[in-house]
Amino acid sequence: MRSTKGNATRFLLRRNLFIGVIVFLIAFYMMPVWGLSHIPNAGTLAKDPLASEMMAAEIAKTVSTQVMTDPLNLEMMVILYGWLGFMTAMMLMRHLFSRRQSMLQAALPDRRETDFLRRYVGYAVLCLAPIVINFLLYLLVVAANGLLSYVMWDTLLAKFGRLLLINFYGFAMGMLSSVLTGTWWAAMLMGAVLIVGMEGLAGLWYSVAGKYLHTLVSTSFTDMLLRLSPAYTLYKGFYRPAEFGCWPGVVAAVLALALSLLLYRVRRTERAERTLAFDGLQPVLSVVLSLMGGTILGIVLLLSFTTDISLIVGMVLGAVLTFWVCQIVFAQRLCGILRHWALPTASAAVLLLGWALLYTDALGYDRYLPARGQLTAISYTPRGYDTGERITLTNKEALDAAYDWCTLMRDEVDSYDSGTPASSMYSGSDVIVTYQMGSRRVYRHYPNNAMRTEAQGSLKCVIESDDYRQSIIDQYQLDSGYVSQMYISTVNAVLDQDAFFEKFNIRMLYRSYERQKDGVVIDLLLEALRQDILDRTLDDKQEMPLLEVDLQIDLPDSNASFEQVSIYPGDEHFLRALFGEQMEEVVRYASGGFADSEDIVVLKVDYTQSYAEIRQFATDLRDIVASVTLARTQEEARQWMAKAQETSADQHYYMPYREDKPLKRLYVYQMSMVEKYAHFYGYKVPQDKAELYANPEIPSMMTLDYVGED
């Protein structure tokens, strides 16, 4: 007699062969077809005798990673393969969603665990195997084009392994969802709750917390998710495998499968076509969903009406209504839902308690400041207009200064009223601070607003510390030799790029190590920049930058990264290396001398409101003009220009706070341009230059904030 079990498995596989065909076709499109359409091009390049090393790297990348990311975009690949696993599980367990099929299955002489394992084999054969076969077919395409030697096996296999793991995780969640429920749609809903439910609830509450906790850091929430969430670690880990371990996903998948098996064994046959297969699930799921529903409706009403009361009403209504809707869905009938009061009330109460905790900051989140003695380092990253610095301070002097600065920032936050939306506090000078106490890290996001003036002493100490300078040098890789390309440009409107470089006869703005003679120049400029960074003071940084240097950094075993470095008038070494003897002239020209021309007219406009008021009331600047003053001489124009800043520079984290002072702005007109466009725009050039500002149609060449004293 033939093996009965073998026959039963074969029969199951034959009945579900269509799953295998669908998975095969999808994977076929993703791997071999993609390979057929892309690999031959790479093959042609590889045969080119002039193919450079960089091209070889590009070919290796094409054959080793792009097949896992290109056919659809990255996110879709992750979702698609997870979804394939999930749907395979649901299809293999579809008898659980039909009362009749469930009875038919239960009548068969088969143990539940045997049946479960048989379906697991079904998954391996009908879902995993087609994916693996297509992967092998893809390798065949690569080999046929003679590119097998370009394959980075560790990268390719790691990515493919991740893909299989994502598929397996989807399958495990699909099995658990199917066993827990009795209908298709309930299983899909359950899948969503199992895969992203807790993360979703946490995310929703994070957004509520973000309204009330002024120092909450979005990256800390993401870090927590990355550490704990199986779905998120698998999702992120697919394209950044070195950073994200796959253990949460593996553990969750194995647990889900084990739990599915246990529950499948005790699941009652008669539960098919019922929303939930286990009675105990109903209250648990109702409460979880009502918490989510309450939070979502609260946020929706908050976004619509922007008041705390709308959030509260939304939470209570949402919790109760969602609970009742759950009862209707679970019982598949309408009557009797109003009998349920205790649990929806408890859900609403939990939400209100959560809101109250956040509103009053009862846990002291914003007030938290570690004891000075516990600190081993303070790191900070500006989040507003300065996003390019990642500073770590460890030596005592710098740490003390940073601690004083943080204390001021904490106190500033502490002075805000409860319920003041945290987002309204950020004006572009905000910083994220990381307090490091041994291996423990605590993150806070400070608005860093009005106290900046008071913190100037501490900031000066921080910015002029060795730690700060070394952090900047490390960040820009000025010591390491990993900078491969640099591009120098003038910053914003102050200087016209072409005119400026032409004036000072600077030809080569782009330098790359690929060109042999550029290497010497890059080394020279980087060394000069390093010297300047070691000499920079806070006063230097508070001046308007002249240039911006874009650096491409090619670290080993990593993708290229880019850094932007500002060059200030005080950066003597770099400017001299670039401009040689013209350096003084360049600095004079760029920091005001530019206005020393008859063609340039500078107007200073005083407004009656501060920048903070203007932003708060969205005032039209022309409605609040106090006075318009014309620079009487070219020298006066030059002096004004020397004390000007870009309009956003005031919000750099190390600048003194000026937003509470009446706004003063310089409007710089180039008369030749004004006259040139007069006919085109149909305006008349006034005789009195002070009246240029009165006509908004007359284009100014640039607008700068005036930060000097009158």
């Binding site: 009965t4 026959n7 009945r15 038919l104 009548a107 068969l108 002489p109 143990r111």
Partner: protein, 295 residues
């Protein structure tokens, strides 16, 4: 031998089966009669190892049936709603049965299909309701089970097919010692084919036993008593039913016929006759006794 012992099964708040015990022997056909919702289908599903009992047990040859493949291979449950794999033909259903049941006989299925004019390779779902029933029975019989549980299986079959299947069933029962349970409402059919019957009401087996004994235990008497015999005298005899039309009394009694005859003869009636009772009438009596649909 199939033994059901102290079986109980509840669906939510509804008690479907309550403390039910039953013993079925080889070579017997047991008829299970019951009102709507009495628990017949549930009982059969628990006996077939499809549903798990809350308490009690179902054992075939002393082995529990639930989650026991060895026992379940000998049992075939024919549902009141014939169920097949989606878009399957009889041949494919046969392949499925071959995968799970060692005793399955493909040749027997072919023979039965030929006998009952069933196409082997057409989708079963395209068959008429009656043809689907036929297909289900053929598939069940091809398993060569030791226990055949039929839930309203003959409903929907035309009289010719019904008769043919009854004959096949009788042959199987006699030849292979098949234990057959027929659940349904058609008392006439039960009377024709069953060796013993049981009445199920609200999940309890209110009455069961050999068909002849069951029919022989209840008697209907038609009599015209003398003028001296009052209604009270007749009622004192303990009839289950007593109806009067003019001078003619129609009474139903339970008990030994000879003793009843002696008691009634002692009243010297002007006319007395014992009338035969059908199973349906006995069933109605039993159900009315238990307060079901009394008017």
């Amino acid at each position: 031998m199939l033994i059901v012992k102290a079986l109980s099964k509840r669906f939510g708040t509804k008690q479907a089966i309550a403390d039910l015990s039953l013993t079925l022997e080889e070579g017997h056909i047991f008829g299970l009669l019951g009102t709507n919702g009495a628990g017949k289908s549930t009982l059969l599903r628990v006996m077939g190892g499809i549903l798990r009992a809350d308490t009690g047990s179902v054992c075939l040859d002393e082995a529990s049936v639930y989650e026991n493949p060895a026992a379940k291979r000998k049992i075939c449950y024919l549902s009141d709603e014939p169920t097949f794999l989606g878009s399957a033909s009889l041949a494919e259903m046969g392949r499925m049965q071959a995968a799970y049941y060692p005793e399955y006989s493909e040749s027997k299925l072919k023979t039965l299909c030929e006998r009952f004019a069933l196409p082997m390779h057409e989708r079963i779902t395209s068959f008429s309701k009656g043809t689907q029933k036929r297909a289900q029975i053929c598939l069940g019989l091809a398993l060569n089970p030791r226990v055949l549980l039929c839930d309203e299986t003959f409903d929907g079959l035309d009289p010719v097919m019904r008769d043919s299947f009854k004959r096949v069933l009788s042959e199987e029962t006699v030849d292979r010692g098949l234990i057959t349970v027929l659940a349904g409402h058609n008392q006439q059919e039960m009377e024709d084919i069953c060796d013993s019957v049981g009445f199920l009401h609200e999940g309890r087996l209110v009455c069961s036993g050999d068909l002849d004994a069951l029919l022989g235990d209840v008697h209907r008497v038609q009599m015209i008593p003398t003028d001296e015999t009052t209604d009270e005298v007749l009622a004192a005899l303990g009839p289950l039913r007593m109806q009067r039309q003019g001078r003619l009394y129609m009474m139903t009694f339970r008990g030994d016929r000879e003793q009843l005859e002696q008691k009634l003869s002692a009243l010297q009636p002007l006319f007395m006759e014992f009338l035969p009772l059908s199973l349906e009438e006995v069933f109605i009596l039993e159900m009315e006794d238990r307060g079901y649909a009394q008017h």
